[in-house]
Amino acid sequence: MKRRRMNQVPLFSSAGEQAKMLVTSNLIDAAWAKIPELQRGQSALPSSVQTMIDHPTPNSTIVVFAPLPDSTQYPLPQGGDLVPYPDFDFLGTKEWPSVSINRAALTLFESLKNHLYGLKTELNKREGQLIITGHSLGGSIASLFTLYLLSSMDKESKCRPICITFGSPLIGNFALQHSHWNSFFLHLVSDKDPLPTLFLSSGRSAPTSSHSQATAYKPFGTYLLCSEIGCACFDDPDLILKILTVASSEVAGGLLQVVDYGEILRNLKNRAICKGPQLAGERFAYPFSDGIVMELKTIGIDPAKHNIDTTRMEAEARTLAKKTKASDAKELNDIKKYMVMLEWYKKKSKEANKCYYDCFKNGDFQRDVRIEEFMGQLTTYWEDMVAQAERKPQKEGASFRTAWFQSATTFRRMVEPLDIAIFYRDGGRDYINNGRSPLYKLLEKLYDEAAKNTTREGPDSKNKKVSVLLTDDSCFWAHVEDAILSCQSLNHANSTPEQRESSWKNLVEFGKYVTKQIENFAVSPEIFLEQSSFMKWWRMYEASIDAFRNFYTSPLVNFMKSHKYDDYGLPEEA
């Protein structure tokens, strides 16, 4: 094992302390308390899983799912495979868009759906604490029901849910690692319990290669793993899977053993206030790795023997520790600063009677070098935001994006013209198909979707602000550049008639496009500055019309020839 380098600050693993906090608090007791009661009671539902609802205090609700006693012992004769379940695709991420659920759990869930729908409607009205709990297959239903409930809850909901399961099998192929929903799930698993690992030991779904991951079980939420002598909390799906796999190989054969979680909790509570057999010796030189080895051994895992890389775990923890609210605050102000720098560049260019697009393309100012640096910083920042959104489940990712897409749009309109400038300066052709980065494509797609759902301001109100506006279509300059190339091809002596014809067609299209932009006040008036690429195009185009199609006219030609653009964007006289 590699040791911590000098100068690095010591890290710690809180897996043991978090578990201790949980078992000494009364939360898990409260969740467990009703389960044996429900199992002893009359069965109210024609199903192997029973449910009840209780209000221990006026401000709290507990929903319990428990299997009938005989189905605890022989819970899953078959049904260990995963079935695609599009109803839960809202949990999918970009990488794993479709969600599959364990057949046994799904069959039960579907059979209870009418009942659960009523329950959901009732709970959506409630405020305060909501504990959803279940044992074995009842826990699977508790998890599925909680997800179902979360998906229908809005942000304003005053109901705070937590789902606590006891010895429940893994239920699906989604990990929720980057979702805040992940933190609503707590799964208690004893190393003596064969149930949680039932499907893993069947060998049907062990993740042998990365290819099979799409169909393999993944744990989600926090696992409170316990043994006779202690417990530890983990939330890394791969690590949990590994630990469960090790445990399953060791309990194999003890399938009929019934694990009493009530007894386990009592034991852990007592253990939590015991010193254990050993007293502290020297200070720990490597608190993270020493700590995690202790924690893993407590739950019966020998990291060396089972090939668990604590060095990698520490490295990951170190990366996480670097990102704090303080560093985020700094980054956000830096991003604002870069945008201000670019706005200033745009303004300076305008003062020199040029578009910032052209200034940048021609390298007119000394500060252009730094502009590329700012572009890089901004692009990295937004790429990261987009990637974060993509790792979240669809619905959550969408609301995450809504929070920043306005700023992202400003970024796209400000920075993409500069990327276009670089592309054409370096001799590129057809930017939209050959040069456009996925980031811009995605941001534009998001914008279009949002625009569809909101009523846009009318052109009148826009006219007043148009002088400070960025051009709506961030690809405007790419269209201009392609139009210039079309003009050149039109005028070129070696062009074939077909080429001329197609160029002319492109130019007509471009004319229509620009007319529409002008009518909507969607372009910045800066494009009409004398030295802009757009005006350069116009002069070429005008010459071509004179040369080839003497009497050609179009709204744009009229607009340009009559110098109507002098008034474009000026506030209308009252």
């Binding site: 600050v9 302390e17 949980l22 608090s25 010193k275 254990g276 704090t324």
Partner: protein, 598 residues
């Protein structure tokens, strides 16, 4: 080794045992609220006056509603007991506070106290068991009144205040005046980490009959240890998760489902190990961990430890007699020493918690170092801002309006500076919110001064930016409670107000422009309503007062500024202070004219 407790806590060793004796005596004299004793120090013949408080073992004097008898304290006599960074006011046990309030009238009037103050004698407030909280609150009461620093000694005292309570004590530099002696297994110093319950009552009942001497050997209760220590352990583990940098968001969710005790140790703790050694600890996180971990069950069975946890509450006098003579004291600050931990009987897991507590302090020091480097950068940026402001006066427009127009290169550079500064102060703000800087950060003179300078110079630019982009249409006025005003300014303003002992909200001179802008908008919208007129008068009064005490720079009076233009446009009947303000504007105009001539 070799140091005495007295050295470490800054009090003569000769005082400790007599103070403990008096505290135990006072606790069991319910007929008197407190006892007083003068102790002569042999070597310099000075005197120390000890006040010790009576106790009560009635459950109503320990607990109350809401759970944990939580009571916010930062009012009147305890105004310092609050956080200056959005953390709210300190919480104390309301039943203890009530008992303190019953005592304070007579205590303030005590002739011994007056005499001690006149003769400049060191005053010590001491308390044993439930007398401890009164001693703590009395000490704080006199610290707030800035009387010569009293000391506080408690023996087997329950916890009194929450995390903010301890934070405020350390921020004010008072923490070292409090010393708490705790026996290794004594249940009482741990009891407030657990909610009141039948187990609590059993424990209190037992001590009540014991102290009342109605029953010399009452039957000890049993079964309480698991409950009390289980809850205490939950608190310690929760705090340990934070110290260890736990990033699992489920921790917060879980926390919202369970009610942990809010109470945390503060001040210096002296742990009596039971074998003649004393361990002195100041790091509050380490104290909590030791408090819980050293009382964990070991080899012996629960019943044995349970009995010991009751017996040790009565063992302070004999234990201290032995320890104080031996000078066998170890200070734990600066890293846990192994020998000491063996005395306390800590587990390896407890050792990790202690190392995490130590590392947390190291991290705060490292953060402070990082911020110290920022301070130099901030100075440089502020100097540029000052020059910007000075230059802007020449055009008789002022930097506020110049910035709002954003026409010149200087305006652009100022905007970049504004964002640079915002980045650094926001980082500081976030660190403070997470208690990631030393507790006394907000009390440091140079920090308050630099912050105030920053706030007065740069907040107007944030306001200008806000109204330049008409952001009020999206978010409402710049100044509304919890509204768009950046928190960094709110924090910095509170530091100054706290430092000057002024009410919160009284130092809002940096908001002058926001008041003016918003009034302009509101007049257009609503006309001259009564409420608007009052606000205009308030702006006038503020202007005169703030120009007077130089907290607002007179460049707001420049002829072309938004303020002067707006104010001149007001109908005369709405400007009661017209003459005075015209005069100020005139003076400013003259100064600028002369300045430009030179």
């Amino acid at each position: 080794m070799g140091e005495t407790v007295g050295n470490l806590i800054g009090l003569n060793d000769e005082v400790i045992h007599p103070a403990a004796t008096l505290a135990v005596e006072a606790h069991n004299s319910p007929s008197k609220q407190f006892l007083v004793k003068k102790i002569k120090i042999r070597h310099d013949l000075s005197s120390v006056v000890v006040f010790a408080f009576s106790g009560s073992m009635l459950p109503k004097d320990w607990s109350g509603q809401p759970t944990f008898a939580k009571t916010e304290i930062a009012t009147g006599e305890f105004r310092s007991l609050t956080s200056l960074n959005d953390g709210g006011d300190a919480v104390v046990n309301g039943s203890f506070l009530r008992r303190f309030k019953d005592v304070i009238g007579n205590l303030s009037k005590a002739k011994e106290l007056k005499e001690a103050t006149e003769k400049k004698r060191q005053v010590v407030f001491a308390g044993y068991s439930s007398g401890g909280p009164i001693a703590i609150l009395a000490t704080l009461y006199f610290l707030e009144k800035q009387t010569p620093s009293p000391r506080c000694l408690t023996f087997g005292s329950p916890l009194v205040g929450d995390r903010i309570f301890g934070h405020a004590l350390r921020r004010e530099g008072w923490s070292d005046y409090f010393t708490h002696f705790v026996m290794k297994y004594d249940i009482i110093p741990r009891i407030m980490l657990s909610p009141s319950s039948t187990e609590h009552e059993q424990i209190l009942d037992y001590f009540k009959s014991k102290f009342d001497r109605k029953n010399i050997n009452p039957a000890p209760p049993s079964g309480f240890y698991l409950t009390v220590m289980g809850n205490a352990s939950s608190v310690a583990s929760y705090e340990a998760c934070h110290l260890m940098g736990c990033r699992n968001p489920s921790l917060d969710i879980i926390k919202s489902f369970i009610e942990l005790s809010p109470y945390r140790p503060s001040g210096t703790y002296v742990f009596c190990t039971g074998n003649g050694n004393l361990v002195v600890v100041k790091n509050p996180n380490a104290v909590l961990q030791i408090l819980v971990h050293c009382a964990e069950l070991g080899e012996s069975n629960t019943a044995e430890v349970e009995k010991r946890s009751l017996d040790e509450h009565s063992a302070y006098l004999s234990e201290l007699k032995d320890c104080l003579g031996m000078q066998a004291v170890v200070s734990l600050d600066g890293g846990p020493a192994t020998a000491t931990l063996n005395d306390l009987g800590l587990s390896p897991q407890a050792m990790l918690c202690l190392q995490a507590a130590e590392e947390f302090e190291n991290r705060r020091s490292r953060n402070l170092e990082k911020i110290r480097k920022y301070l130099e950068k901030i100075e440089v940026e502020l100097e540029m801002m000052r020059k910007y402001k000075e230059n802007a006066q020449i055009s008789r427009l002022g930097y506020y309006d110049s910035f709002k127009l954003q026409n010149e290169d200087d305006d652009f550079h100022a905007n970049v500076s504004r964002l640079e500064l915002a980045g650094m102060w926001d980082e500081i703000k976030e660190m403070l919110k997470e208690f990631e800087l030393p507790d006394d950060f907000e009390k440091k003179r140079e920090i308050i001064d630099l912050g105030t300078k920053y706030r007065r110079l740069v907040e107007p630019l944030d306001i200008a930016n806000f109204y330049r982009h008409s952001k009020d249409k999206e978010t409402g006025a710049y100044v509304i409670g919890g509204g768009p005003r950046p928190k960094r300014y709110r924090f910095i303003q509170r530091w100054l107000e706290h430092d000057e002992k002024k009410p919160f909200g009284s130092r809002s001179e940096s908001l002058f422009w926001a008041d003016v802008e918003q009034l302009g908008i509101d007049i257009k919208k609503k006309g001259y309503l009564q409420e608007i007129e009052e606000r205009i008068q308030q702006v006038e009064r503020n202007l005169i007062a703030w120009i007077g005490d130089r907290s607002l720079d007179d460049d707001v009076l420049l002829e072309n500024s938004t303020f002067v233009k707006w104010w001149r446009d007001l109908p005369p009947q709405h400007k009661p202070k017209s003459d005075r303000i015209e005069k100020l504007i005139g003076e400013m105009s003259e100064r600028v004219t002369q300045g430009t001539k030179i």
